[in-house]
Point group: C2
Chain length 188, copies 2
Amino acid sequence: MPPTEPPALRADARRNRARILRAAAEVFAEHGAAASTEEVAIRAGVAAGTVFRHFPTKKDLLQAIIKDLLESLTAEVDTLAAEGDPATALFTFFGRMVEQAVEKKTVADLLAADTGVDIQVAGPVQSLQTAIETLLTGAQRAGAVRDDVRLDEVMALLTGACQGALHAGWPPDLQKRTLTIIFNGLRP
Amino acid sequence: MPPTEPPALRADARRNRARILRAAAEVFAEHGAAASTEEVAIRAGVAAGTVFRHFPTKKDLLQAIIKDLLESLTAEVDTLAAEGDPATALFTFFGRMVEQAVEKKTVADLLAADTGVDIQVAGPVQSLQTAIETLLTGAQRAGAVRDDVRLDEVMALLTGACQGALHAGWPPDLQKRTLTIIFNGLRP
DNA sequence: GAACATAATGAGTGGCCACTCATCTTGTCA
DNA sequence: TGACAAGATGAGTGGCCACTCATTATGTTC
């Protein structure tokens, strides 16, 4: 059996935990992983100690946020894979991802391995990758992407575009034009 | 007249200044802009105070390094423009730049505007851009790049590739394959 | 080679930030 | 409703780091 379920949280604890997660998502999105835990506590309307009671380490907090983010991205990919046109779904996702990167510094920190992509988030990362792989093979079957393009190249282009867009602050139309070039490179 | 030339440095001061610049280039290349000034001082074999005598602010030191880097990159572009095949010079430079980014975190910090691309380095940045523009128009005249590709798109792809390569630590063959896709996207 | 300006030194200083803990508060449950 | 465990609080603590300054050393000049 799993090593004994932890006892249920008290009502106020559950409420505060949720507040902290919401606040942290906002703060890290705005200021990146460099934002202070104090800032998160303030935004959550909670004392600093409370944050550390729920997340013993800043890294734990960051990884909780990143895990959520990964899961929502994976969900988005799954939706696209199920409902979208296979010939364009991959490209649509690229656009969405770059948009997100510009508005959420968390995305960049997630992609920049140094912040600590640890065993804790390895699973979600894997899920996202396989979801994207589905998009890729779908696009290839539809003849929208060259057959010799591999997943790691797609991931590389994706991280490059996100990092570039965030750090250099690409305006929307530059995002579009740049992605168009990349898409051209992917097409047969 | 320019507001009075500062008096010549003493011999030891000149020597130490050079040492500090060399040490800083190494340290920032290895650890990025986050490296401490203390570390630079140690590597230069000099007391911390001496570093601050020559560069009153850490930012000043960083910008001096970045300025050097920009100038050497510009020189490299100029050489390529003068000697290389216009049809491939732009692509060659892309490869060189990404290589550099992987081995020098300074490059990434330079491209990540937040570290402080200030008026101080605006000139060198401009020079590099115009040099790259020469490469671009050369490649377009040679029919190697589509005519509707603009400089800002090339810069965006370049920063994206560098950021991605550094942060995700692309191995050399992934660098090559990814750049190939980008080059495909640029071709007519 | 003495006098003096210029430079080097390194032990502070202050600020920021992750993290702790003794104390007080509050939800829970009999 | 009272007792108690679980939780919240916020003033520390320690470590790191940019930057300072009184003191000491060294190049330069006549």
